[in-house]
């Protein structure tokens, strides 16, 4: 599903600030003009280091200005935090939410080893 528009973040919204590989004085190109590898790395870095998420096990897929986030997260609130951090990192991208919240359903059957 494509996410609804996110509010544009302010610096106050991330006091600790995620480390961003691309941060610096140089003006950044729109996401579709940046080499895909750098976009992916920038998002992975933000998702790993941003104190709101600290997620390492997610896939980031980039096609033009469409960026898909895929994988499992523990809670619904963490899913939205991931999307928010990704949006702040690449505000001009169209984010596609392919995240899944982990199941809380217990399977009591056992595997015999």
């Amino acid at each position: 599903m494509t996410t609804p528009a996110h509010p544009r973040p302010t610096d106050e919204s991330r006091p600790d600030g995620p480390a961003r590989a691309g941060d610096g004085p140089t003006m950044r190109h729109p996401v579709e003009l940046e080499p895909v590898d750098y976009v992916i790395s920038r998002i992975h870095s933000a998702l790993t280091l941003d104190p709101r998420v600290h997620e390492q096990g997610l896939d980031v897929l980039v096609s033009g200005r469409r960026v898909t986030l895929r994988g499992e997260v523990a809670t619904e609130s963490r899913r939205w935090a991931v999307l928010q951090v990704a949006h702040e990192t690449i505000p001009d991208a169209e984010l596609v939410d392919d995240l899944r919240v982990l199941s809380e359903t217990v399977t009591t059957e056992s595997e015999a080893l």
């Binding site: 104190p51 600290h54 390492q56 096990g57 896939d59 994988g71 499992e72 523990a74 809670t75 609130s77 963490r78 982990l102 199941s103 809380e104 359903t105 217990v106 399977t107 009591t108 059957e109 056992s110 595997e111 015999a112 080893l113």
Partner: protein, 266 residues
């Protein structure tokens, strides 16, 4: 409660629930307790394979301890890399210990389940890569430090597993966070395999022997694998098993002096 398995010549079996990578944070409160409450009906003990918290804050351990309070079975855990991130790993372990969780790091313990002594050797483990595609103790000091840490923790795993024999364990379990084999990492990008585990862990396990290995860390891997010497490996990272835990039924080894032949309880 041990169950008789007609296909297992009457050996006592122990039901081990295992999960890794719970990544508990403040937003996890209330999500896991109802799951752990169900352990009493389907498992004899619970193993936690590291990355218990999001970033290793004591407050996160507090949330996990509260969630685990609903579990009435013994709990044994190792920490994972996330649990070290904010340099409060000792506090995380201490808080969990207060909640009756045995947290192992290069140590062994025995949990009696009725008449079966379940031995667990636990260590976080580390990366380095798998046979033929791994780092070496060579080059820059940083590279040597990286590999030597893996060598060191693999050594502690081997000693902990060896101790289980002295402790007369009927079942020997290796509990890790990092993967000992590439089998259970398949599905992850090949490029990150050296950060997912090390063959040195498998080598330590195969030298001393174990009945099963549980690990986590490789979220996109798969559940089943085996060490080169044939010890079963299970990746129980929560995203892999897709459930709050999986249960494995293990037979007690007949070699342990016959103590484990034992009676079965309904």
């Amino acid at each position: 409660v041990n169950e008789l398995d007609p296909q297992d010549d009457g050996a006592s079996r122990v039901r081990v629930a295992a999960v890794g990578d719970l990544h508990v944070g403040p937003d996890s409160a209330g999500h896991l307790a109802p799951c752990f409450e169900q352990l009493a009906g389907c498992a004899d003990l619970l193993l936690l394979a590291g990355d218990l918290t999001r970033v290793g804050r004591a407050e996160e351990a507090e949330v996990l301890a509260a969630e685990l309070a609903s579990a009435t079975v013994p709990i044994v855990a190792v920490l994972g890399n996330h649990d070290y991130h904010t340099d409060q790993a000792d506090r995380v372990a201490a808080r969990l210990a207060e909640a009756s969780v045995q947290v192992l790091e290069g140590e062994a313990c025995v949990v009696p389940v009725n008449d079966v002594r379940v031995g667990i050797a636990g260590v976080k483990g580390f990366g380095g890569g798998f046979a033929g595609r791994c780092g070496s103790d060579f080059g820059e000091p940083e590279m040597k430090a990286f590999i030597n840490h893996t060598v060191e923790v693999s050594g502690t795993l081997e000693r902990a597993l060896a101790a289980l024999t002295t402790m007369e364990a009927d079942i020997r379990v290796a509990l890790l966070h990092y993967a000992p084999v590439p089998d259970t990492c398949r599905g992850e990008p090949l490029e990150i395999f050296p950060f997912l585990g090390s063959y040195l862990l498998a080598e330590a396990i195969d030298r001393t022997g174990a009945d099963v290995v549980f690990h986590g860390h490789a979220h996109r891997g798969n559940e089943r694998g085996m060490t080169p010497a044939g010890v079963r490996v299970r990746n129980v990272a929560q995203p892999v098993i897709g459930a709050p835990f999986h249960v494995y039924s293990l037979p007690a080894r007949q070699a342990a002096g016959g103590r484990a032949k034992a009676t079965a309880h309904g």
